[in-house]
């Protein structure tokens, strides 16, 4: 036996305008929605302003610089990065960083793995692994001298990193990677 279809008698429950046209208007709800709309656009404007300022990376707030007290290392980087977006970290060296015509630069594993170092510019003469990171050796003459790391973080998070040069104070800092 066939199943009987489910039915319901028609009822005119839609609100009428002037008791003539069934529209279903709800002006009170609409007024609340307009208030929400205004608040949402104000919030979006704030987001854009904060973005221009660099709170989500690529702006003045995002730029950071760390320097050791003796001036051996000067690191310029973005304290706020974006996932999968490339950026450059520049490591400048003072006179005491150059020993025997070489600079030995240590970077922690977090810079390579979490923060996604894609390239080291210029290419190091030698790379040694150990102590939770990599130690690069660059032939060097006199300052100013610098090395660039091309970063491209693979995922969001807060990552600590350490940079050091043989015989100097290490630089510790954090980078926030937004989605």
């Amino acid at each position: 036996m066939a199943t009987k279809p489910v039915t319901k008698p028609v009822q005119d429950s839609v609100a009428r305008v002037n008791n003539e046209v069934a529209v279903g208007e709800d002006l009170d709800f609409q007024r609340k929605w307009w208030r929400f709309e205004n608040a949402a656009w104000a919030f979006f404007t704030l987001i854009i302003v904060l973005d221009l300022a660099g709170l989500f990376g690529r702006g003045p707030i995002a730029k950071a610089e760390r320097r050791t007290a003796d001036g051996t290392i000067d690191v310029k980087y973005e304290r706020i990065e974006r996932t999968d977006s490339p950026s450059i970290m520049t490591i400048g060296f003072g006179p005491s960083a150059i020993q025997d015509g070489k600079i030995q630069l240590y970077i922690s594993n977090s810079l390579v793995k979490s923060l996604g170092t894609q390239r080291v510019i210029p290419s190091p003469q030698d790379t040694v692994i150990g102590e939770g990171g990599l130690t690069y050796t660059f032939p060097a003459t006199k300052p100013p001298a610098s090395v660039d790391l091309a970063l491209q973080p693979s995922g969001p998070g807060i990552y600590d990193f350490t940079i050091n040069v043989a015989g100097a104070q290490p630089v510790h800092a954090k980078i926030v990677v937004v989605p």
Binding site: E20, V23, G24, E25, L27, F29, Q30, D84
Partner: protein, 147 residues
């Protein structure tokens, strides 16, 4: 996994933005509004599939968006208030010879839009319009004066 999260976020975010942009994108699409629809669609797809352009990843994104749409439609059918949040409610723009200025300003609809809708119904004078109603899909319904 990340594709699914991105697709869910993209769907909800786009739903919110399109809803906030008033109803015209769904109804009377002008060239000006085509820009918004195409640009937003193009931008959201970049973050949804990312660098993984495999068939598996794209199919997962499509399935996720489809499921989200099915879910939102189901909840809309069950809870009319949620339906009002997602789609809005119909609004009267013109009532018995009086423009409803609060609604027109709030919905950013001008008199020319109402007249354009009237012309599509074969109405040549605004005095022949008894009611103009902005529907949930963005279209404007015209009810003529009874002579």
């Amino acid at each position: 996994m990340s594709t699914i999260i991105h697709a869910v976020f993209g769907y909800l975010f786009l739903l919110l933005i399109v809803r906030l942009l008033s109803r015209r994108p769904g109804g009377q699409l002008t060239l000006f509004e085509f820009v918004i629809v195409f640009l937003m669609g193009g931008v959201i797809i970049l973050s949804t599939v990312g660098k993984d352009r495999s068939v598996t990843n794209c199919a997962t994104a499509i399935l996720t968006v489809g499921l989200m749409h099915w879910f939102v439609s189901s909840v809309k059918g069950k809870y009319p208030r949620f339906g009002a949040i997602v789609d809005g409610t119909p609004l009267t723009l013109l009532k018995k010879g009086e423009w409803q200025l609060e609604v027109m300003k709030g919905m950013r609809i001008d008199r020319e839009d109402v007249m354009a809708a009237a012309r599509t119904k074969g109405v040549s004078s605004i005095y022949d319009v008894a009611y103009a109603i902005l529907e949930r899909n963005g279209a404007i319904s015209i009810i003529k004066n009874e002579k």
